[in-house]
Amino acid sequence: MNHDDEIRPSGASETTEPRVSLVDELRALRDVAPPASLAARVMTQVAAPQPFSLWRWLRRPIKFEVRLSALSVLAVGLVLTVGATALVRGARSSSQEGLAAGGDEVVAPVAGAAARPGVSFPPARAGHEARGGQDRPAAGDEDGAPVLVRFVFEAHGARRVAVAGSFNAWNEQVLTLEDGGSDGPNAGVFVTTVAVPRGTHEYMFVVDGRWIADPLATERRPDGFGRQNSLLRL
């Protein structure tokens, strides 16, 4: 008997038929024999080779079993901890080395030069190779996205240093370099990072209104006015 047979509105109770008989009669209708061949036909279709689907293949779960003793778990944990620590330390030291190298490049005194400009990539772009005072993207990294370029210029006592070039329509008012501080190792070192489109660009620094070519640039090109612009290839 159905467990909710007693649940019904009185509006549906006019009949004199015992409800149990109708429900029991309905229950008897479930005695139906499926076709004997149904399972076989289903399995024939299911087992038939299906066309390869990359999406299905990628979604297919991979089952594997790993059995470890407690000692093995401890050993694996130790190895992972040591590896992670070494990785973090390595990342930190390389970051510091990068900063130190950049600082050397910027602040190292150069005979006859009052200022020591340079162009370099930030540590985040460490995957790019460096040539001379400029970093270039590694071969094959040509996704068309702009490249972050860090412009560095050391000019102690300068009030304002900007960079202008073909990548910003030679506007010396926009890309102002920030001073590293009034004292300390980075005092007088002006730095800024600019997203520059890939290609070949000419640029110059503007120090307190004076246009100065990058002395570390490996390539230069005449500007048509008797001077030379620095060349940046990305």
């Binding site: 159905n2 467990h3 909710d4 649940i7 019904r8 509105p9 009185s10 509006g11 549906a12 006019e14 009949t15 004199t16 038929e17 409800r19 008989s21 109708l22 429900v23 009669e25 309905l26 229950r27 008897a28 209708l29 479930r30 139906v32 024999a33 499926p34 076709p35 149904l38 399972a39 036909r41 289903v42 399995m43 279709q45 299911v46 087992a47 299905r56 979604r59 297919r60 779960p61 089952k63």
Partner: protein, 221 residues
């Protein structure tokens, strides 16, 4: 046989917690989970026990929905194949009998599709009894049929097919297949209160279809 408006509120309140208890997770559910995992991992033969286990139910539901053995065979077969092809998207979420309710949902939906396609080309069966005549009621001029349980069963089958599909589906799942309201809720994706109302109304419709023709004597019951 519709619910009286002044009784609907009390009815809803009284049925709110009846018959809704979900079954517990069993070893059978665990086995089905494992079989499904094997199927997804590339072993189609693991699907066979599931087909064997649920072929009766899938076929019976389709048959009661459609009234045609050949249509029911097609629907049951295609439902199993649909289920197999979608096993990688099936999630039981820890629900007991999740596979069977999922399969029944496919069966019911496919059955509805067949009903819709037939409705375009054929006269719907329910219209034949739309006038309210108890066309399946007992004919007292045939005492042999009166004594026949097979005849009564056929009357019941025909009457069930005369019930509109949205009521027939709940009657099939609830009274024929004895699913819990929670399972039917998953199959049909309807609120349990709605399901209970439909069950009561469907039974009333069925009872009306089985009532004797006015003016004639004799009753099966």
């Amino acid at each position: 046989m519709a619910l009286k408006p002044d009784q609907s509120g009390a009815f809803l309140a009284s049925v709110a917690h009846a018959g809704t208890a979900a079954p517990a997770w069993t070893a059978r559910d665990e086995e089905e989970r494992r079989l499904i995992a094997d199927c997804v991992a590339g072993d189609p033969e693991a699907f066979r026990p599931l087909v064997v286990r649920y072929q009766r139910q899938a076929f019976a539901v389709a048959l009661r929905m459609l009234g045609s053995r050949s249509d029911a065979e097609d629907v049951a077969q295609q439902s199993f194949i649909d289920a197999f092809n979608a096993l990688d998207r099936f999630r039981d979420d820890g629900r007991p009998r999740a596979f069977s309710t999922w399969l029944l949902r496919i069966v019911v939906n496919r059955s509805k599709d067949v009903l819709k396609s037939k409705r375009r080309t054929e006269q719907p069966l329910e219209r034949e009894v739309a006038g309210g005549d108890a066309v399946f009621a007992h004919d007292p001029s045939n005492p042999e049929a009166h004594a026949s349980g097979g005849q009564r069963r056929r009357q019941l089958e025909a009457a069930l097919l005369a019930v509109p599909a949205k009521y027939r589906e709940v009657l099939v799942l609830k009274d024929v297949e004895d699913l819990s309201y929670e399972e039917i809720r998953v199959v049909l994706r309807l609120p349990i209160t709605t399901l209970k109302i439909r069950v009561v109304r469907a039974r009333a419709m069925l009872r009306a279809l089985l009532e004797p023709v006015p003016g004639k004597e004799g009753d099966l019951r």
